[in-house]
């Protein structure tokens, strides 16, 4: 049976902020299924008691001193902005309310 349904792919696309087309959904559903079936092989490995590796470097406590360093000018900061107003980045009206910190 398939590892992932067309509906799940549509949901993933929404979560990923991708306005995929219907045709894409068909193609992706098939392709993601093949990929997920293949990568699911990791499940064959008995690793219950194995610690996960998130970083390959054996470093801890890499910290910087609390000293100000020059950053960008507002012009530089906004230089790549698709749209700006009043020295701020302009975006279209927002639907979602902040999920907040």
């Amino acid at each position: 049976m398939a590892a992932i349904s067309r509906e799940e792919v549509a949901h993933l696309a929404r979560l990923s902020r991708l306005a995929v087309t219907e045709e894409e959904l068909d193609t992706f559903a098939g392709q993601l299924d093949v990929i997920l079936q293949a990568v699911a092989q990791v499940g064959e490995v008995a690793a219950a008691d194995i610690p996960p590796t998130s970083h390959s470097v054996p470093l801890t406590n890499v910290l910087r001193e609390d000293v100000v360093v020059p950053g960008l000018t507002p012009q530089e900061a906004l230089s790549g902005a698709p749209d700006a107003e009043e020295q701020r980045f302009r975006v279209p009206r927002i639907l979602d309310e902040d999920v907040a910190s």
């Binding site: 970083h55 801890t60 910290l63 910087r64 950053g71 975006v91 279209p92 927002i94 309310e97 907040a100």
Partner: protein, 498 residues
């Protein structure tokens, strides 16, 4: 709403509230959490940004040592355990005020965990369990344009300023607090107040709720006695200590009215409104957001060694509650008196004034009396009223030495506030010292007697009370620089009424 709400007392008689608080504190470090940009408040939009806090492609975070230490100190002050090893995690969600569209935070490995904070409510100690204290980054500020009063609804566009993005934010989460009954709102307020004082005493943040450097979310639920805890709501946008109390109260009442009507509480985020004092539901999401947390690969783990933590612990100041206790005893104040000192925000000032040589009573008299009045008039903090503890101590010293009476002292204080110099200087310059030489006084007294023969006769005939009028006359001629008591004695003596 048309349905009339039940009365609070009546509600808490039937329901048991459970509260929980989630507090965010902006640290007062020089630089942001993961870059060297300054954190100073205000400033033109997007003037405190760099590739890192703008989330530009290719940029990488490096953690601020001072922020880590501040968080550990907060954890220690809240009796938490400090993780021997923990990682930052990415909290993934799309929002324009978050430059990377994920927030660097901590998930299941907080830096500090399992502590408590004791708070006093009506002289009773309540122990609030601390679930966790973790570190994360703040978001930018979004300006909603076109809608009503900067609200997001009805806005046609939004403008984003990333000056605040990346400022270190400490999140402090309590364990659920049951069993406080009718006191729940006051307990909530007392907790946030105490937490604010603790953090202020650590000097790691200015913890100003109005400036947003201290933000509070309040969780509330109700259950019937003997039943399990009810569904909780999370009230956001609670921006003052008073609001903390009001938010809990109004949410308790609201939930009770829902339950009484046979309804069920939906787990949701609600927004508190300062003006009306009630809460309204936030945009309820049918499916809970999945933040897809995972360990931040761009930051290596934190592993504070015991020596480091011990060093930080040794440097902790005395906790505000204990400090206040000690001062109250030293100053011999009743709980009520101590409370008025606290309300006036005069603790440190009185401490310093006493240190400068004044008596506790003397120091308190000036700061809570004349100076508080002046501060209120000028609408400034007591500390900024314009007199230093040293000056106040010197002033009180002159009074104690009999060189100034209260009236003269207040005149001198005016000079101090006007910046004319030290109390002693002002006293001499303005020639305000009490006249103690009796020769000069006797002359003034005789003068007054001669000028008011009828009053003098009354006194001679035993109507001693009439002496007041002559005293007034003498004080007038000596421009208030005489000591009223001495003057009275002299008068009675001269008129043989002594």
């Amino acid at each position: 709403m048309t349905t009339t709400l039940p009365a609070y007392d009546e509600v808490v008689a039937r329901y048991e509230p459970v509260i929980g608080l989630e507090t965010h504190v902006e640290l007062g470090t020089n630089t942001k959490m993961f870059c060297g940009c300054p954190t100073d408040f205000g400033g033109e939009p997007n003037t405190r940004v760099c590739p890192v806090c703008l989330g530009l492609p290719g940029s990488l975070p490096v953690a601020n040592k001072a922020a880590i230490e501040a968080t550990i100190r907060i954890g220690l002050a809240l009796n938490c355990s400090i993780a021997e090893w923990c990682r930052f995690a990415r909290k993934n969600y799309f929002y324009p005020d978050m430059p990377k569209d994920f927030q660097i935070s901590q998930y299941d490995e907080p830096l500090c965990f399992g502590g408590y904070l004791d708070v006093e409510v009506n002289g009773e100690l309540v122990r609030i369990g601390i679930e966790r204290v973790h570190l994360e980054e703040d978001t930018g500020k979004t300006l909603h344009v076109g809608g009503a009063t900067g609200r997001i609804h009805g806005a046609t566009e939004s403008l984003v300023d990333y000056n605040r993005a990346g400022i270190p934010l400490v999140e402090i989460v309590t364990k659920p607090v049951p069993g406080t009954g009718a006191l729940a709102p006051e307990v909530a307020r007392a907790y946030v107040t105490e937490l604010r004082d603790v953090i202020r005493s650590l000097g790691v943040s200015d913890v100003r709720m109005e400036e947003g450097s201290l933000r509070c979310d309040v969780n509330t639920s109700l259950n019937l006695p003997g039943e399990e805890w009810g569904t909780r709501t999370e009230t956001k946008n609670v921006n003052s200590l008073r609001s903390v109390e009001r938010a809990v109260r109004s949410e308790i009442i609201r939930q009770a009215s829902v339950l009484d009507a046979g309804g069920r509480i939906t787990q949701e985020t609600r927004h508190f409104h300062e003006d009306t004092g009630d809460t309204t539901p936030g945009r309820s999401k049918e499916t809970a957001t999945d933040y897809r947390y995972f360990p931040e690969p761009d930051l290596v783990p934190l592993a504070p060694d015991t020596a480091w933590v011990a060093e930080l612990k040794a440097a902790l100041p005395e906790l505000p509650r204990l400090h206040r206790r000690r001062l109250q005893e030293q100053w011999g104040l009743s709980d009520a008196d101590m409370q008025s000192v606290l309300n006036a925000g005069a603790v440190e000032l009185i401490e310093a004034t006493i240190a400068a040589g004044a008596t506790p009573a003397g120091a308190r008299k000036w700061w809570l009396g004349e100076l508080s009045r002046r501060a209120n008039e000028a609408g400034v903090e007591l500390a900024d009223v314009g007199a230093t503890p040293a000056q106040v101590a010197e002033l009180q010293g002159l009074v104690d030495a009999g060189k100034l009476n209260d009236k003269l002292a207040r005149t001198v204080l005016e000079g101090v506030l006007a910046g004319e110099g030290s109390p002693t200087q002002i006293m001499t310059n303005r020639n305000l010292e009490v006249v103690s030489d009796t020769g000069a006084l006797t002359a003034a007294v005789d003068e007054a007697i001669a000028a008011n023969p009828d009053i003098a006769d009354k006194i001679r005939s035993g109507k001693v009370a009439a002496a007041g009028a002559l005293v007034g006359a003498v004080m007038k001629t000596t421009r208030g620089q005489a000591d009223a008591k001495t003057v009275r004695e002299l008068i009675l003596e001269r008129l043989g009424a002594a």
